[in-house]
Symmetry: C2
Subunit: 198 residues, 2 copies
Amino acid sequence: MTTQEKILDTAIKLYNTHGISKITSRHIAAEMDISPGNLHYHFKHTEDIIKALYDRLVGEYNTFFRELELTEDVSFADLTNFAQASFKITTRYRIFFRSGVDIVMQIPAIRDNLHEIVTKRKTQLGFIFERLVHKGIFRNDLPPHIWPILVEQLFIIGDFWWAHNEITERLKGAKASAKYMELIEGLFTPYLAVKNKN
Amino acid sequence: MTTQEKILDTAIKLYNTHGISKITSRHIAAEMDISPGNLHYHFKHTEDIIKALYDRLVGEYNTFFRELELTEDVSFADLTNFAQASFKITTRYRIFFRSGVDIVMQIPAIRDNLHEIVTKRKTQLGFIFERLVHKGIFRNDLPPHIWPILVEQLFIIGDFWWAHNEITERLKGAKASAKYMELIEGLFTPYLAVKNKN
DNA sequence: TTTATTATAGAACAAATGTACTAATATTTT
DNA sequence: AAAATATTAGTACATTTGTTCTATAATAAA
């Protein structure tokens, strides 16, 4: 593993546990026993570390979405997989979803990219719903304008569940995962066609 | 208006527009043309300002909930009012909902209080739903375990909508309010009894 | 009106932080 | 092996930030 990768791994670990605002480049260097000078040789600016972590996050989302797009024949299980994959990613990079938009939005490279990626994800999930309605898995007696609303609800809960968990139950591991899935699945349950209610 | 109040007003204004992490006690003092020394005469620690703003936020929530509790005969309109009041409060203090739990959770006085207040709000909203089911406004053919889930979904979307808006459409004013209400109302629409679908 | 108090300004300090610089060491290329 | 390049440690510096200190000024109490 290269020093760069080690820095990123250490950074995300420290950020996730202590929060971005409390972790400085010196902390990261100290944690992995290298000098501050060395760290800034690999990442000139501390912001560049956060930027690199964001790129990792986006990369993981993209590879997952690419897989999903290949599946022409979307099934209900894909939706569950989607939620579970989202949970894993938001867990690994939970600092981005917990530290709010405050810090992240102040990094220009991220700010410029964020809107684009969220829009893309929304469109993709919208397609999945469309196909599931067509297949009769979701109800087809509803006005079409409800689907974008459902997609948005899914994203808000998916993205900010960790933040909410932090200020309420503080669940971890399997319990956290179960609660997350319960909330996400509960969101589209009312829209399932009657025959699929299981 | 006392200097203390002026400091809090200036602080929330600056925090809301620039984010907590970018605003220091010096910025606040400069914005209102007083000396740093004077500011720290009124608030010994910068954190105390955030703590005081949090107390304001909680206070506004409490006065609203107290009104609602007096209404013995809960109607559907109360639910909409509830959402609208929540929107106003989360807008006025949106920094707390945008800067994430990261900063806020590091202030002990807030951390200790936050869980309590969220739980209280959840219970109160749970009661409202219970009464609305009883009155036949919400469906009574559903398993009772779905109501806590719905309450939690409502709170996540209610609390973090501003954060989500920041990274997507960045709506403001009336448009923001309309979108917020659309998402919140869309959440409980599927649970309305058939006769109430209007 | 004198005295006490509260409020304010402005300078000063210490700690933290990002980052640049220098020299040494390791690694790769030729 | 020699030269070039990449990596590392350690130090140093400037800036920012929270906070304290001291001296005035304003206000309230006596």
